[in-house]
Symmetry: C2
Amino acid sequence: MRARRIPLSTECAVCITKTIGKVVPMLTDTWERQSELYSKAFRALSDGYANDLDVPSTIIPLMMELYSAAGANDPFNIIKQKSINAAMKDLPLIEQSINRFSDFEKFRTSLSAAIAGNIIDYAHAGDDPDLESLECVFKSVQREGFAIDNSKELWHRLKSSSGKVVILGDNAGETVFDIPFVRLIKELEWSVIFVVKGLPSMNDATKNDVIGTGIEQLAMISTTGARAYGTPKRFVSEQFLDLVADCDLIISKGQGNLETFPEIQEEFEKETYYVLRVKCSHVASILGCKKNNNVVLRQKNM
Amino acid sequence: MRARRIPLSTECAVCITKTIGKVVPMLTDTWERQSELYSKAFRALSDGYANDLDVPSTIIPLMMELYSAAGANDPFNIIKQKSINAAMKDLPLIEQSINRFSDFEKFRTSLSAAIAGNIIDYAHAGDDPDLESLECVFKSVQREGFAIDNSKELWHRLKSSSGKVVILGDNAGETVFDIPFVRLIKELEWSVIFVVKGLPSMNDATKNDVIGTGIEQLAMISTTGARAYGTPKRFVSEQFLDLVADCDLIISKGQGNLETFPEIQEEFEKETYYVLRVKCSHVASILGCKKNNNVVLRQKNM
């Protein structure tokens, strides 16, 4: 159950191309410019297969190139705002549910909320998330539990010591559902650094997407320094790497960070917990679980 | 409402890539070979966008290249056999329904069956067809009617004269649902030539897929001579072009023939009726109707 390199599978091909089909029309209106971007995108994808690249090494430079070629800054802004609003609307109910519990059960329920938020993802082959059903998803995560479950180890780790924890955030809106979890960790006297993306890419959260949600009162907000999903080592800032070097524990949200952070984790030998909803059977097979499973996976040393 | 060139739209990009994602794993089992084929496929797609090709000019050579690179002959054979069996199972019920009517209503109902069969398509972005529900689809086509409806003109044309009609067949299984329609045309004393594909490509019907279904007793079976969907002019045989030149009327089934036959129709100035289920909003917008609409479209002179 080690997090490791995610090669371009058959399923990835479909997923990436559906993502391309979603992104390109958001980047430019004209048919000629869209055709140019499609041509670039499929060329990059072809090269990715020819050179046996993994998924992030294929998609991240491709997305950077598309955004840059289109002169686009934040085409997912409206989608992100809708996601944040939907999550903010449901947060009080989620908090009520969490506050019915105490100690480990409370912590575990806050993890369920953080995983439920992880369904707010517009970069995979499935249907776009139903923002009206976030609370239902939270309940179903509670009911289903975690297929890989190192939540007890995380709880003990957080209870038995303190220090600096870096949380690698994921998508806009999802970050709102991380709030109860962040609050609990802060109450356990950890200092929390919450990392968002340096520049917009798809619906990944940037500073703009978290400031004002309340999380900034619980955690220091920092960034990867990159326009990219996850934390790709070749694109993140020195400042981000210093943050990792300097912290005691990492909590990593979502598939994008699972795909990219292990390279940095290995270098700095940082204990990391990967918290996510598994979005595809390809990643599921790598983790040894199933699509749509909920995962809290401890990776002590890479 | 003229049938015309189908450029590569955003929707086409998604559709084609989903088709690639479906076909490649059927062509070869090994990861290395699949990667090579994906690389080829996405390179061709990139070039298609760069050179402003239309859909068939992009996909047909690409599919030919994939089949040839994989040394594959008929990977959809099992799917095609299942489709034929499902259609043969439902045909008696369909025939019963049709035989409740007479004259134009009978003819129109046989057209509904021919359109219902057109859902047996594995080369588009939607879900694969539910082979258990073919009779239900037939009933819904009857209920919905034809959004573009030149069925009366076709009926009068077939009633008022006779000669040679070429039917451009489409997918395996779908051809079974064309049988009542072919029988009626034959009863009107037309000589029917039913055209299938020269070599297997996706789930398009070849000679092997129609011989034994009973249609060969009603019509002469001929082929396009090509391993390609539709009737792409640069790939079809001289014999096929002679057939077109020599006939009095064409009935063309499905989107693939709508995408490709107009070039030949224009050259030979043959009155053609395009009979299909509209599978995507892109073709719908070109025809001036909606996705999932049923169409019987007369094109007298191109």
